[in-house]
Amino acid sequence: MKQHNEHIEAEVRKTMQLLDQMEPIAVHHLFRARLMERIGREFGGEAAPSAGGFLRHLDLRLAFMTVLVIVNLGSAALSLQEGGNYAASAVRDTLETASDDYSSQEFAYYEQTTANMQEGLSVESKAP
């Protein structure tokens, strides 16, 4: 019986000793290269994952929105400038028209008078 117990103890000891006899393994020379490849594949190069990735996307969106705002502002400024020129020329035309001699009250009267005179002549010529 004692011998049997001793045998069991010896077997247990031998099995437990396996852990102490485990030699540390050397790192495979490609381990780091494979790891960096996987990191590149999963995170797209040096992209910052998780919160960083979110911030990066947010940055891109902000940049895009800024570009859109600049383009909008630019086109608005251009159209304002063009519209301003048009308005100025319209005002100028109106002013010119208003200050034109031929459009004055006197000219209107003259025209009317002339028309009346012509009308009178024609009446006279029609008369026997």
Binding site: I8, K14, E46, A48
Partner: protein, 180 residues
């Protein structure tokens, strides 16, 4: 190269050996250990921004290694249970046809498959905290204080866990050899 990448590369260079060997203690297989170590460093890269200097960086990395290794063992256990269940209900288990990873385990090199398998089974039947404390205590490079930091417990608790793990292992192995 960004400062983040440079920091990460230096971390890998500094801790890869310890991480791989820690995983190796848990899984008894070189390939699995390297795969797990890769997972560990991917997790480190992902969470580097979230690391708070409450613990040492090395402790944080080794804690990830322990967690990943325990997860791996749990996953294997689940697969085995599922396979057993399938056998009971008569369904075919496709994983049964896949050859188990052969060779390259230290125990095989030392004493053959049977003893190594037996030890692994006995270790896997231990509670996670006992298993982790015991396996880390068997690895060079970890002090009891560091194990305590990794497991977020006290040094006396680690000593107690290691003691109980050894006792449990001896009992389980004795029981096995008595039946032989």
């Amino acid at each position: 190269m960004t400062s983040r990448e440079a920091l990460f590369k230096s971390l890998v260079g500094e801790h890869q050996e310890m991480v791989i060997n820690t995983c190796y203690r848990f899984v008894f297989n070189r390939e699995d250990a390297e795969d797990l170590a890769q997972d560990v460093f991917v997790e480190v890269f992902r969470s580097l921004d979230q690391f708070r200097a409450e613990a040492k960086l090395s402790t944080w990395i080794y804690r990830i290694a322990v967690t990943k290794s325990l997860d791996h063992l749990r996953r294997i256990k689940r697969i085995k249970r599922f396979g057993a269940l399938k056998r009971i209900i008569g369904a075919e288990d496709p994983s049964a046809e896949i050859a188990a990873p052969s060779g390259d385990t230290p125990a095989e090199a030392c004493s053959g498959n049977e003893r190594a398998d037996l030890l692994q089974k006995a270790l896997n039947s231990l509670p996670d905290n006992q298993k982790a404390a015991f396996l880390l205590s068997k690895q060079d490079g970890y002090s009891n204080q560091e194990i305590a930091d990794i497991l977020k417990t006290s040094v006396s608790a680690v000593e107690s866990l290691v003691h109980r793990a050894r006792k449990n292992l001896q009992e389980k192995l004795s029981l096995y050899y008595e039946k032989q």
